[in-house]
């Protein structure tokens, strides 16, 4: 009885102070916990939030989106904040979730209050919740894939060769087999690690390295077809790899990728997407490269049609990327990003090249790269100075059924340790990323109608001139977005209840984008008089309106 009362009081406490708990405890949350926190935030801030279930994974978990802002949030510039795009990057989920919590907690501050009236935030902390299950499973194992059963190794049996925790320590790590046919050697930078032997330096390998497990299907390969699945971050259409590993049957084939893509497509007001995963263009901005001249030229004399793919960031968007990257490094204090990894079908490049929005991504936390040292060795060096917890599982000899009579050892860097800060650093990581996102939001596009001029040429003949100015630091749409049909154009419209004729100028003008601080003049010649309104804009960059009377 006592216990029941206690837990009742506790749950009441959680109910009333749910948000407090959400901010103070920086820890890694299971998918269910994340959804509960989102629910609590929604309950605590009903006027500022909208919580939607945008999809359900193959194992039945809800994928949720929390929309944040005051007033009519879908008709003003929006920012998407997305975590959980890669199952190894657990911290990205906490950054997105922590961002939502902090933003709402601070919504009483003038600064944030004002921001929430001008920009809307769409937070999806956990885009692919099944992929993170390895973080919380026993044994703990890195995994990338959702729970859609697939034949990963294309041998026409499904999920037949998963990993096993051979030494029973609760982690799926590596196993090494001492064997003259192996191609790995002990890493001289850190004797606990192995690296590929460099034949050009006369090195000869003496270890075989696999992930921990047995060859369940006796096909000579180890752990090549575990449960699942498709990698969310390889299931998007930009540079999608047909028949790629964990890529799915086609781009956006999965429930998770489709749910997130549909949510984004439905929100025409989103101008920028921030995602937290392996791709990084905030530590190191994208540089404009030469555009590939990849065209399709049929034989001369046939019907010609050119189609050009864009595979490098466009110049104006690259300037914006450099600006954002500078801010990111300044606010987080991070240095030496390991640089951009291009994966086929990744989310962040899709958000730029196909969805047409500004797209920024970062792991949110990383170990500074050290020259001449492998990332793993640099990490172990950093960990010895900064992380108290054990991040390394010492090599331990085991009997392995597939290698009778051979020395087999299990060990290596703990799963997830390389990609995610330890819990005691998580709060700081969330805070600095939060600061950055708030600063980025302040750069939003914002339209204003300026310098209205009405000239009366004759009775009932007026010339109207007005300038439309973008006072934001973001353009009204990315340069690439200009070509994308899912990015709306600026619409300028002149209206009146009184009877009038336009002698020059259009009633509705669909206009091109405006860069930062750019303005464009519009003019009309009106036959008539009365009260008029000019409106300009689009949901992606906001609207402005100006009214006047001509007699």
């Amino acid at each position: 009885m006592k216990i029941i009362i206690k837990s009742l009081i506790l749950s009441l406490l959680i109910f009333f102070t749910g948000e407090e708990i959400a901010f103070t405890q920086a820890k890694y949350h299971e998918p269910g916990e994340i959804n509960n926190i989102l629910g609590d935030l929604n309950k605590s801030y009903p006027g500022l939030t909208r919580l939607e279930t945008i999809g359900r994974t193959y194992s039945g978990k809800d994928i949720k989106a929390l929309s944040i802002g005051s007033g009519d949030i879908d008709t003003r510039p929006g920012i998407a904040v997305i975590g959980g795009i890669d199952g190894r990057y657990a911290a990205g989920r906490e950054i997105a979730l922590g961002f939502a919590g902090r933003l709402l907690k601070n919504s009483g501050n003038d600064e944030i209050k004002d921001l929430l009236g001008r920009v809307s935030f769409y937070v999806i902390p956990d885009a692919s919740p099944d992929a993170i299950s390895g973080f919380f499973s026993k044994p703990m194992a890195e995994r990338l894939i959702n729970a859609n059963p697939t034949d990963n190794d294309r041998d026409f049996t499904i999920d037949e060769d998963p990993c096993e925790d051979l030494n029973g320590d609760g982690f799926i790590s590596l196993m090494r087999i001492k064997d003259p046919t192996g191609s790995y050697i002990i890493d001289p930078d850190d004797e606990r690690l192995l690296r590929k032997a460099d034949l050009s330096k006369g090195e000869q390998g003496s270890w075989i390295v696999y992930t921990e497990g047995t060859d369940n299907d006796s096909d000579g390969k180890f752990n090549e077809d575990s449960q699942g699945g498709v990698n969310f971050n390889n299931n998007f259409s930009f540079e999608y790899e047909e028949f790629g590993e964990n890529a799915g049957i086609h781009a956006a084939s999965e429930k998770e990728s489709r749910a997130v893509a549909d949510f984004l497509y439905d929100h025409f007001n989103i101008f920028a997407v921030f995602s937290f995963g392996p791709q990084d263009n905030l530590g190191q901005p994208f540089k404009p490269g030469r555009q590939s001249q990849e065209t399709q030229e049929p034989d001369p004399g046939q019907w010609r049609r050119r189609s050009r793919k864009i595979k490098n960031i466009l110049p104006e968007d690259s300037e914006q990327n450099a600006l954002l990257s500078g801010k990111y490094l300044e606010l987080t204090g991070y240095k030496g990003s390991p640089g951009f990894t291009r994966e086929p079908g990744n989310f962040m490049e899709w958000a730029y090249y196909h969805y047409g929005r500004y797209s920024y991504s970062t792991p949110g936390w990383w170990i500074q790269a050290e020259k001449g040292m492998s990332p793993e060795a640099a990490f172990l060096k950093y960990a010895s100075e900064n992380i108290e917890e054990d991040v390394f599982i010492e090599w331990q000899e085991i009997d392995h059924p597939d290698f009778p009579g051979k020395t087999v050892e299990v060990g290596g860097i703990k799963p997830f340790a390389l990609y995610n800060p330890p819990e005691h650093l998580l709060g700081e990581v969330i805070e600095s990323n939060y600061q950055f996102l708030v600063e980025a939001a302040k750069l939003r596009p914002e339209l204003e109608l300026l310098d209205l001029k009405t000239e009366k040429l004759e009775k009932n003949l007026h010339r109207i001139t007005v300038s439309l100015h973008n006072k934001g630091i973001f353009a009204t749409a990315s340069q690439l977005g200009d070509q994308v049909k899912w990015v709306r154009k600026i619409k300028v419209e002149i209206k009146s209840d009184s009877d009038f004729r336009l002698l020059s100028g259009k009633k509705i003008e669909i206009s091109e984008r405006l860069k930062a601080d750019e303005s464009r003049e519009y003019s009309w010649l009106i036959n008539g008089s009365g009260d008029f309104t000019i409106s300009a804009g689009a949901v992606i960059c906001g609207m402005d309106e100006i009214s006047f009377t001509v007699r």
Binding site: Y240, A252, R258, Q296, R305, R488, K489, K507
Partner: protein, 570 residues
């Protein structure tokens, strides 16, 4: 009393309907003389007409034709799929499959009639013709007459040109102004057809053609014009200065397939991502459910072409293997013979680049040999290159396809004249040519379907060996042109290899016999009872061998996804 008379009457009627001999008719070669399911091939079927015909086929031929819904369209219509085969002799999914669809572009309606004709012809001729009987005994036909039923209905029942909608019916914002489908055509003269508008103008650039005044031609430099052309019937509905710029849909369902997909700015007509639309999703799922589909046809119009992939240049994985090239060209070239006036062409090279097209999905993802016929060519009008539509309409259609120019009041342009060709002319067949072209295109499909693999087990030889062991050797032959696995199929392991089992004894070892004369064999250590063959090419054979303990009567069973299941016994 009355009721029993009706029963007797209807009984008598049934008998007369089922009678194979009818005194009124004399059989024309190659056509069922007195079909159980009456159908005429000089008109087009609406959705209810399609459904009715399919249902009548199922009722008349329950052992040959089965009907199912492959899924729902955007507006909730069933995507009707027929499975036509001898359902009695073998599991249809264990026979090589041939797939036909039509009408992916909604205005390109006659693909549906071609597909229906094939289903009808197969069912009606099964008892009459040895070739058709063999075809339905050995193969299975999956026929989806229309994979865009919503917009087919729109094309027929709403005001359209001969080229609209082309799209499906999901609303889309084409001009990026935040509104969907807000500025479509306007049927000014209210005749259900969108034709052309012209206005008298002494400074216009057009005049009536002296040889046929219905025809508007451009004036020569220095010559005085009589008319200006104002485009298709329409009004600027949304006041943005553009006319008809945001019509219903206006995406392209044939840029929506999950192979080599690219977005709209690279490939006009693409939508959000591959398989954005429920109709194509239904076909995708249908295909994945029927991996035995070895050959396919996706009908379009027009131009008189037998098209093959790939649809993009240097596509990488979609470059066909040399062996596949030979097969695809041999069958495609036969198409030029079977359908005179049609040319055999490669999509990207001879026409234009298509990203995300259905043809590349069938070959690329499914490993299926596929063609897309562009139905109807103006060559069929006079069997020459004159291609004079006005003359054809006058001499053969008696001006039935032309809407005479007539004056109307346009709310913006004032007095205009509206006229031009009907939407049923130009891209779709005139009635009297429909059956003939349906038959030819169907014959091409049948030729292609016939060339899907036909596997047989031959020459099972049993030899006693030392100890109590026996050696069982068998030949598996493919009697047709197509391999069990295309190059793409082998490269990406789309289907499992061909499995050859030995039943009737305890298998202790097995091998593929590479060269019997010189005793060259390759042992298969893993699972010896089931020998795995990567591919059995067309018109060739493989030899396999088992070492067996016990048994005297052996059965060799073959399981090939696209080559069918078969077996043989010594």
């Amino acid at each position: 009393m009355q009721r029993s008379i009706i029963i007797i009457l209807s009984f008598l009627m049934t008998i007369s309907l089922q009678a194979q001999k009818d005194e009124r008719f004399f059989k024309a070669a190659g056509t069922p003389v007195n079909p159980k399911v009456s159908a005429s091939w000089n008109k087009y079927y609406t959705y209810s007409g399609i459904k009715d015909l399919c249902e009548r086929l199922v009722t008349a031929y329950p052992d040959l034709v089965k009907m199912e819904s492959a899924g729902k369209s955007y507006e909730g219509r069933d995507i009707i799929a027929l499975t036509v085969t001898n359902h009695k002799n073998q599991d249809p999914d264990h026979k090589p499959g041939y797939y036909i669809d039509g009408n992916i572009h909604s205005n390109e309606i006659q693909g549906t009639e071609m597909a229906l004709y094939a289903a009808w012809y197969l069912a009606e001729m099964y008892d009459e013709n040895d070739f058709i009987r063999e075809l339905l005994d050995d193969k299975v036909f999956y026929i989806i007459p229309t994979i865009n039923p919503d917009a087919r209905e729109n094309f027929m029942h709403e005001a359209n040109t001969g080229s609209s909608p082309r799209s499906g019916m999901v609303p889309r914002d084409d001009d990026r102004d935040g509104l969907v489908d807000e500025d479509g055509f306007d049927d000014i003269n209210g005749d259900g057809i969108i034709s052309m508008m012209r206005r008298k103008n002494p400074y216009g650039e057009y005049k009536a053609d002296p040889s046929d005044p219905r025809h508007m031609i451009r004036v020569e430099p220095g010559e005085k014009g009589e008319y200006e052309m104002l485009g298709y019937e329409g009004i600027d509905n949304d006041g943005d200065g553009e006319v008809n710029e945001d019509r219903q849909g206006s995406y392209d369902p044939n840029r929506d397939w999950g192979y080599n997909w690219e977005p709209d700015y690279v490939q006009r007509g693409a939508d959000k991502y591959p398989f954005s639309f429920p109709e194509n999703q239904a076909v995708r799922d249908f295909g994945i459910k029927h991996k035995n589909i070895a050959g396919a046809q996706s009908y379009h119009n027009s131009g008189g072409m037998v098209l093959r992939g790939p649809s993009i240049e240097n596509g990488g994985s979609e470059v066909y293997s040399r062996e596949d090239e030979r097969v695809i060209n041999a069958i495609g070239e036969m198409g030029e013979t079977i359908i005179p006036g049609y040319r055999f062409l490669t999509i990207w090279k001879d026409m234009y680049t298509v990203y995300g097209g259905e043809v590349d999905w069938w070959y690329g993802f499914m490993g299926t040999f596929v063609y897309s016929n562009e139905l109807w060519t103006s060559h069929l009008m006079f069997h020459d290159d004159s291609r004079d539509s006005y003359k054809f309409d006058k001499l053969l259609l008696f001006e039935d396809a032309f809407i005479p120019w007539e004056e109307y009041d346009h709310p913006v342009y004032g007095k205009v004249e509206i006229g031009g060709f009907d939407k049923n002319f130009g891209r779709i067949h005139p009635g009297f040519l429909l059956e003939s072209d349906a038959h030819r295109n169907t014959a091409f499909c049948f030729y292609h379907a016939y060339q899907t693999p036909r596997l047989v087990v031959r020459d099972i030889k049993v030899k006693d060996m030392q100890g109590s062991l026996k050696q069982v050797t068998a030949t598996i032959a493919n009697l047709r042109m197509m391999p069990t696995h295309s190059g793409q199929n082998i490269k990406y392991k789309i289907d499992p290899p061909d499995y050859i089992y030995l039943d009737g004894g305890e298998v202790v070892a097995s091998m593929i016999v590479l060269d019997e004369d010189n005793n060259l064999c390759e042992e298969q250590e893993h699972n010896p009872q089931r020998i795995e063959i990567q591919n059995i090419p067309g018109n060739s054979s493989v030899k396999v061998r088992w070492i067996v303990k016990g048994g005297t009567k052996y059965t060799v069973r073959v399981e090939s996804v696209k080559g069918g299941y078969t077996s043989g016994t010594n």
